[in-house]
Structures are given as structure tokens and as C-alpha cells.
């Protein structure tokens, strides 16, 4: 997806994202923060977004995720603001070691996904990122439901074995 297309899509998605944020926080300012963060994340992922992808479904999931993250950060700010619960804030915030580990896990996972067959990867991402059901994927791709299910199962098993093997090492 190029920049112009993304700008058009972002303008279309913005009210939807704002509504999600407003439902969760009940505050226009927080909803605005959610919208901004969601669109930034979508912009980072923009290059990987194909024309046929359901951007709306992905935006909804990212917006919900951003709501939860923002809530966590607000909670952390409250705890830190109290000044007397440093230990607790340290527990809530990931340590540098944990953050590094998490980054490694994410890159390993992305690497494993990259090793999947193109069709498998497409179906897996449709399910994983956009949160579509098997029926919806079958409708969008024009494939049989059973084929979609078996290809997703295959992709998941491959990834599971790869990630499990890495963990055992």
C-alpha cells in the first residue's frame, strides 16, 4: 500500500478507531491518543498490506490492542506518580532483559512465518492479524472451507514445532 492510498484509508478508518477508543475510555482525549497510535502502527505495517487485505479488521484489532496498552501505561503512570510504590512499578514495567528477550522471540517468530509457503503465510496472517474466521477467509479467497482449515492447521503446526524446538535449545 502506497502513501496516498494509506492516507485515504486512514481518513476512512479514523472515526471507527475513535469510536473504539471512546467506548473503552469514555474520554475524547484518550480516544484521540488511541487513534494516533493505531494509525502509526498501521503505517509501519503499511508496506506489508496488500490491496486485497481487510484493513478495517486489522485496524479494529490494532485499535483494541492500543487501548489495552494505553490503559496499562496510564496505570503505570498512576503507580509511579504515587511515588511510594517503586517496586510495584518495576514489576509492571518490563525489565531491559525481558524486553530484549521479547524482541528476540518476535524476530524468531517473524522468521518462522517467513519460511512458510506463500499461500500458508497469507491464510495464517489473515487469521492471525485480521482475526477473520475460517468462513470469512474462504469467502475472501474463494477457497473451500476445509482447504482453508487444513492449510491454517499446517502453518500453525510448522510454526509450533519451530518455536518449540527453538525454546528447547
Amino acid at each position: 500500500m502506497d502513501r496516498t492510498t494509506f492516507e485515504q484509508t486512514a481518513a476512512r478508518l479514523r472515526p471507527l478507531i475513535l469510536r473504539i477508543g471512546l467506548n473503552f475510555f469514555g474520554s475524547a482525549d484518550d480516544a484521540e491518543d488511541v487513534a494516533q497510535e493505531t494509525l502509526v502502527q498501521l503505517w509501519r505495517y503499511c508496506e506489508r498490506l496488500d490491496e486485497g487485505r481487510n484493513v478495517e479488521a486489522l485496524a479494529v484489532r490494532v485499535a483494541k490492542n492500543c487501548c489495552v496498552n494505553l490503559k496499562r501505561r496510564q496505570h503505570l503512570r498512576v503507580v509511579k506518580g504515587g511515588g511510594h510504590l517503586q517496586a510495584m512499578s518495576a514489576q509492571l514495567a518490563p525489565s531491559p532483559h525481558e524486553e530484549l528477550e521479547w524482541r528476540e522471540r518476535v524476530s524468531a517468530f517473524n522468521e518462522a512465518v517467513g519460511l512458510l509457503q506463500p499461500r500458508e503465510r497469507q491464510l495464517f496472517e489473515m487469521r492471525q492479524l485480521e482475526g477473520l474466521s475460517t468462513e470469512q477467509i474462504a469467502q475472501q479467497t474463494g477457497m473451500a472451507k476445509a482447504s482453508v482449515q487444513s492449510m491454517i492447521a499446517m502453518a500453525r503446526k510448522k510454526l509450533f514445532n519451530k518455536m518449540k524446538g527453538r525454546k528447547e535449545l
Binding site: R61, A153, R156
Partner: protein, 226 residues
């Protein structure tokens, strides 16, 4: 969710048979501290997005439940309040009816205490309207009446009159002269009534006589010479 259920759900997930809702539930279950290695791998596979969405949905569902519980609580409180009001109203109604019955049974005379309290108010009212003032109990009108020759007739009547409500008696009681006038008027009226009755009787008798005379004339038309 038990460990067995989570493991079953993991198997279902790997076979690609889980629904998005089941995957969200699984994400909530497997993202916990001290989880087995398999669970951690599944958590990584499900990803941050699924977990974030699961937390979002869970939070919203909890809020909805709380709101519903609050509404139900308020509704229950309102129902209880309404029932209490109904019960209290139900108790009061018979008491009010009883009070009405007692009031109906009670004598119509006003208690002396109430009369005493009402006397000043009545006096004020009378002053406003321009009526004679109400006299209090300790100022009987009889003592103030001038000694007149006609009063000798009226005095016994006033004295005999029982003082049932002296506080409420007006100061302008009829004087003896007035009473004599009233009596005279009454006698005149009585006389007039008697005269009127007698006149009516006389008229009737005259009419009867006329009728008899007419009948007599009709019977003896031939024998009478004019």
C-alpha cells in the same frame, strides 16, 4: 478453565478448528506466569494482537455485566421502595376510615377549649365584616341591659335560657323591647293567619250555599214565581 481444557483447546487450535472467540479465550489462559513451554509457544503464536483484543473484550464484557448488575440493583431497590409505600398506604387507609367513622359518631358540639380558642378569631372576623363583636364568657350581656319596664317580661326568658355556648354568644342580644315587638308581630301574624283561615272557610261556605241555592232553583224552577 482447567489445564485439561486448555490443552484440548491448544490441540483444536493447532488443527485450525478454533473460532476467533475461542482463540481469544485461549490467549487469556496461556498468557500467565509459570506456564508450560507449550503454552508459551502458543501464546507467542497467538500474538499480542489476539491477547490485546481478548483483554479489551473481557474488560468491556465485565463493564457491561457491572452495568447490568447495577441496573438490576436499582430496579430491585425501586421495587422494594414501591412495596414499602404500598404497605404503609394500605395500613393508613383503614386508620383514616376509622377516624372518619369516629368523627361521625362524635357529638356535633364544639368542645369548650376549642370555643375559647376560636373566640378571638371570631371577634377579629366580625370586626372586619362590620358585625358586632363576639363576647367572652365572663362578660354576660344580661348584666349590661338597661332596666326597662318591658324587660320584666323578657328577663326571665334570658335567665331561663341555658348558657351552653356563652363564649360564642354575640354581644347584640335582642333587648326586651325588641322581644316584645317580635312577640307582638307574631301575635299579629297569628291573628292575620286566623282571619285568613276564617275568610277562606267563609268563602267555602258561601260557595257551598250558592251551589245549594242553584240546585234548589233548578229543582223548583216551575214553582217559583218571579
Amino acid at each position: 478453565m482447567t489445564t485439561k481444557t486448555v490443552n484440548k483447546l491448544i490441540d483444536k487450535y493447532l488443527e485450525g478448528k478454533t473460532s476467533p472467540d475461542e482463540e481469544r479465550r485461549l490467549a487469556l489462559e496461556v498468557n500467565c506466569t509459570g506456564a508450560p513451554a507449550e503454552w508459551q509457544v502458543v501464546a507467542e503464536m497467538l500474538g499480542e494482537l489476539t491477547l490485546g483484543e481478548a483483554i479489551y473484550e473481557d474488560t468491556m464484557a465485565r463493564r457491561r455485566r457491572r452495568r447490568v448488575a447495577l441496573c438490576v440493583g436499582w430496579a430491585a431497590a425501586a421495587c422494594i421502595a414501591f412495596m414499602v409505600v404500598m404497605v404503609v398506604a394500605g395500613h393508613r387507609k383503614p386508620q383514616q376510615q376509622e377516624a372518619v367513622v369516629l368523627a361521625q359518631k362524635a357529638p356535633a358540639t364544639v368542645p369548650a377549649v376549642v370555643q375559647r380558642e376560636a373566640a378571638p378569631v371570631a371577634a377579629e372576623k366580625a370586626a372586619v365584616v362590620g358585625m358586632p363583636k363576639v363576647q367572652k364568657r365572663r362578660k354576660p350581656r344580661v348584666a349590661a341591659a338597661p332596666p326597662e319596664p318591658v324587660a320584666a317580661e323578657a328577663e326571665p326568658m334570658v335567665a331561663e335560657e341555658p348558657m351552653v355556648q356563652p363564649a360564642m354568644q354575640p354581644t347584640m342580644q335582642p333587648s326586651t323591647a325588641e322581644l316584645a315587638q317580635v312577640e307582638q308581630n307574631f301575635r299579629q301574624w297569628q291573628l292575620g293567619w286566623t282571619i285568613r283561615n276564617e275568610a277562606i272557610e267563609l268563602e267555602l261556605a258561601t260557595e257551598q250555599l250558592n251551589r245549594k241555592y242553584a240546585m234548589y232553583l233548578a229543582e223548583n224552577r216551575d214553582n217559583i214565581e218571579i
